[in-house]
């Protein structure tokens, strides 16, 4: 079974790209073409027998490299988490697990590649917050988020922190709420881009707290946090990794965590809900999907490996560093969790009238 599939290739073909070199090159000049054809034929002859005996379908999964697609550029939070996960999973699976960064279009490009891959367990997707909210923000997705994927498992949940500059007059979240209510439209919040967790967490806050803090989008975490430090924006609902250094050095003041419970990394910090916005919860999460139609046995194997990997010491280190909450579970747990998240954010997106295009 695996040998006659082509992980990740359907995407390219569907775009209707050029056929192999022979077609285009031939058009140019006639006289040398026979040589090229001979060469191609020779290459084919040399290569095919070498590959063909890769058999049989009954071979235990996995018998070759497993790829996890990260729909972000290298170096971000999702990328770091995936690389450590991949390292741990490859120990358990006995095959290399490689990370393939396919950034762009708010995760749509990378996600679409996995949606169109062979459902054989060799092409996986590292999904996160954007995966659940993209259907409500984008009118046209090239895939069906509900139907195109089979859940493998939740890697971890995470949360955001509402942070202000240390020189800010706001000592608690209630201070911020009181000021924002008295001066609507005066304060600014920075986000890591339209539709990011930092954006929607703050919009949910606006929605539930009845404030009107103006959205100022940035291209990613670094410039937004810089402008928070410089005092251009007054508050950011940031991911932990992007601000933990500044909190540690005392240049930024954390006001609250967005999770339902207080965090292990900041036990003294109240939640947003505790600070006068009852019902407020905003989680970030990381989870692995396979293309829909992947055999149940393969999913189970991957889920077991994933659960083992996230309980390794290397991974636990991320709990404080990246603000992860490690939550082992079945594929069904994962699916139920993401459904709940999607339903909640659909209401926020609708009520706040957030649109991307």
């Amino acid at each position: 079974m695996p040998h006659n599939q082509n992980p990740g290739q359907n995407h390219g073909q569907n775009l209707g790209v050029e056929p192999p070199a022979t077609g285009t090159a031939r058009a140019a000049h006639g006289s040398w073409f026979p040589w090229l054809r001979t060469l191609t034929a020779a290459t084919l002859l040399a290569v095919v027998p070498a590959i063909a005996p890769v058999l049989p379908a009954s071979a235990a999964y996995p018998d070759k490299v497993v790829t996890i697609v990260v729909p972000f550029a290298p170096g971000g939070g999702t990328d770091t988490v995936t690389r450590i996960l991949a390292e741990q999973m490859s120990k358990d699976l006995g095959q290399p697990v490689i990370v393939d960064n396919r950034p762009g279009a708010g995760t749509i490009i990378g996600t679409n590649i996995v949606a169109n891959s062979a459902p054989d367990g060799y092409m996986l997707l590292m999904a996160s917050f954007a995966h659940a909210v993209n259907p409500f923000l984008n009118a046209k997705l090239p895939f069906d988020t509900e139907k195109a994927f089979a859940p493998v498992g939740l890697v971890a949940k995470s949360y955001n922190i509402a942070v202000v500059n240390t020189s800010s007059q706001f000592k608690t979240l209630s201070d911020l709420i009181a000021y924002a209510k008295a001066h609507p439209g005066e304060l600014n919040f920075g986000s890591f881009g339209n539709g990011t967790s930092a954006h929607l967490s703050a919009e949910l806050f606006n929605h539930l707290a009845g404030t009107r803090i103006v959205h100022v989008p940035y291209k990613g975490a670094a410039p937004a946090v810089t402008d928070l430090l410089a005092g251009q924006v007054q508050v950011v609902f940031s991911s932990v990794a992007s601000v933990s250094g500044h909190i540690g050095s005392g240049s930024l003041r954390p006001l609250a965590v967005t999770s339902a419970q207080r965090s292990k990394a900041f036990p003294d910090l109240p939640t947003v809900a505790e600070s006068g916005v009852p019902g407020y919860v905003s989680d970030a999460w990381y989870g692995v999907y396979a293309p829909a139609g992947t055999p149940a046995a393969v999913i189970d194997r991957l889920n077991a490996s994933l659960n083992k990997a996230i309980q390794s010491d290397a991974f636990k280190k991320l709990e404080t560093v990246e603000g992860l909450v490690i939550t082992p579970g079945t594929p069904q747990d994962f699916a139920a969790y993401v459904h709940g998240e999607a339903a909640r954010w659909r209401d926020v997106v609708k009520s706040q009238n957030i649109k991307l295009n």
């Binding site: 040998h3 006659n4 599939q5 082509n6 992980p7 990740g8 290739q9 359907n10 390219g12 073909q13 569907n14 790209v17 050029e18 056929p19 192999p20 070199a21 022979t22 077609g23 285009t24 090159a25 031939r26 058009a27 140019a28 000049h29 040398w32 073409f33 040589w35 090229l36 054809r37 060469l39 191609t40 290459t43 084919l44 290569v47 095919v48 070498a50 590959i51 063909a52 890769v54 790829t67 490689i98 393939d100």
Partner: protein
Amino acid sequence: MASSLENPRDVLGGMLMAGIGGAFLWLGGDLDPGSALRMGAGYFPRILGTIMVALGSVIALLAMRQPSAGWVLGQTPWRGVILVLGSLLSFGGAVRGVGLLPVVTVVVFAAAWASRYARLRSALPLSAGLAAVCAFLFIHLLGLPLPLIGPWLTAGYWSAADPAVSTLAVSASAFSTIAR
């Protein structure tokens, strides 16, 4: 700022620039311009497109005003242009399917004939050698996520009932028929 607007090269160049500006204006027509105070997605493109049309028109008009001798575009190495661009397109289209090793061999070999000095005895070892170097360097050492030999070259692949694949197979056989 010595040499400047001589034509007809500059008439053409100016018209090209004005045309590109116009194309951006046209394509961006449905973007919301917003207002000067609160700019929308279409505000900046509109300003830039307008300036581009103006700049291009000025270049073309100035060039028309002082005609000079002849067509100075020079000759175009059509074989080279087609082979080089064809090689690039083939690489992009085939690298994931065919794999790095075969595609570099073919692309280098084809591109080599863009030069009038190409000889079989130099092009063959060049393409084979470069393919080996690239495969070692980029896949083995740098871990680029590309197959060495791609799935299109595996035996079972072409029997798969994927419509996209069969289309490709048909077109490939059509090409080989034409070649004959």
